[in-house]
């Protein structure tokens, strides 16, 4: 049986989506990067302007497609092309950004139709550089940010992550899979 499934990584510029996908992908990731030419330049010299793509192969006939969305908000018009067939959404937030609460609200609403049917997990990066807000603060932000949303998992995992740390990325994805069905791991 041919199975094409996607896991979507989203979040603001420079949060580590590309690195996180690279940690999982069996192939060198395909990116459409370009010289950043606007405010993005302040955070990152090159940035993803289309999307990142990686593959995790289960067997010859089964691949998991790993997509990273562009971080700039202006590209939200293209994001829906990614979500059909998606297993879930991994939202990565950057603790050093000026307003992570706004980012949380923005990205969850950008994928509001998607997360009705699939779970979302949230990874907060760069907490070693900027300790506030803490995970508990993000938990407190959630009810307001999601008041008008229908979410498959209204209490999503919120983990501190470092996209360069494979274990962190693995735990995010495993939390996503268990959020689909906590019963799947009883053979492990």
């Amino acid at each position: 049986m041919r199975e094409d499934n996607k896991i979507i990584f989203t979040g603001p510029v420079g949060v580590g989506k590309t690195t996180a996908i690279a940690a999982l992908s069996d192939i060198p990731i395909i990116s459409t990067d370009a010289q950043a030419s606007d405010m993005t330049l302040n955070r990152k010299g090159h940035t993803t302007v289309a999307m990142d793509y990686g593959v995790l192969k289960l067997d010859e006939g089964t691949k998991i497609h790993l997509y990273g969305t562009p971080g700039q908000e202006r590209f939200d018009f293209m994001w829906d092309i990614l979500t059909t067939g998606g297993l879930g959404l991994i939202l990565m937030l950057d603790n050093t950004r000026p307003n992570p609460k706004k980012d949380l609200h923005f990205f969850l609403h950008a994928f509001k139709d998607f997360i009705v049917d699939v779970p979302v997990v949230i990874g907060v990066s760069k907490t070693d550089i900027q300790t506030q807000p803490q995970i508990a603060d993000y938990v407190d932000m959630l009810p307001e940010a999601t008041a008008d949303l229908r979410m498959l998992n209204p209490i999503p995992p919120i983990f501190e992550v470092d996209g360069r740390n494979k274990d962190d990325v693995k735990n995010l994805v495993m939390a996503l899979l268990y959020s689909i069905d906590p019963g799947i791991g009883d053979q492990l």
Binding site: T32, K57, D80, L188
Partner: protein
Amino acid sequence: MTTNPSNGGSILVRSIGMDARKEAVFRMAFKMFTRRHYQLLDAGDAQTPAVIIIDVDGRDGMTIARRLHEEQPEQRILLTSVSAHPDSIFPVLQKPIRMETLFPALELLLNGSPAPAKSAERSSATVMPIRPDVAISSPFASVAAPPATNPASAPAPKPVAPPAVAPRPTPLLRPEDVRHFNPQAGLLGLLQIVRRDQSPAIIVDDRQQVILRLDPVADQAILLTDDATLKSLAQEEHPRLQMRAPADTDIPAHASVRHLTLPSLLWQVGAWTADGRLIQQLQINAPVQLKQWPNLTRLTMLPDALRLAAFLARSPASPALTVKMLRVAPSDLFNFLAAADSLGLLRYNTAENPDNRIQPASANAPEAAEIPAAKRSFLGRLLARIAGL
């Protein structure tokens, strides 16, 4: 039918009204579509395109489209816009653009009439719904499959055996076998007091040796003992420990110390203290619920912690039901519950703490659909693959 202008098998597409970044998005979409080879022309490329895609959300987009149609009535034109433009003579692809509408729209233009028969008529192209709520048919699902990129360089996938392993047997949980403990006593009790009162403290043993220095405001703990000693102290029913306000001289200059976050310490001491026992406030047939997931990437990963968190965050369940549904060892569940409770992450109904009562599921939350067996098998294989990375 008009011959499609092509370049060595490529279907040439020109964009108008888009900046370089939007064009990059289309280039990537074309790269990902493997059934036909679309190529977006660069701005200076004079080749004749098969299709022109015009973003009409800019100031002159619609004017350009109309003028182009007047000058080249045979030219196929596709518009993109945030609006539906029901009166447009051209097919409109409404943003956000989706693979499942972009490529059918292009196919329709290429295989159907090249351009509106009469400029005065509305487009009869059936490209419409632009955000369809329909399921994607399986042939089109392959649209999302990106091109095989240099397969020679792709490492062979690690073989993942199908789930031939039999599910774990359901552990036996008999009420008479369940042992309880009081989490407000002993070392764990002292740590809970520090967390509750938000006052710095040190904990010393019966020889006045400093074991821990705790700063709840900074969420930090300094450990002056090894894990084995700490575990042993956690499991003592009545350890001879004292707590007092810290002083500058508590920690000798050359003492060997370890730094930990206070939540990490509480989580670990909670699990050690439980040691397979259930906290006394919980009954095996009474529901318990997670208020939020523990920050599991920064805490000791207890056995089955991710599964238990997923299960108990989804809806309230009694320990007995949790053991039955997840087939987890009761001792692992009890340790997890103790660790989660030490961080204040559990809800359960008690007369002493009415604010901590189980909350009903939000009426707004969608129902979780039954997972078909084939999908469960697939998810299980994927989980094994991720775990083995």
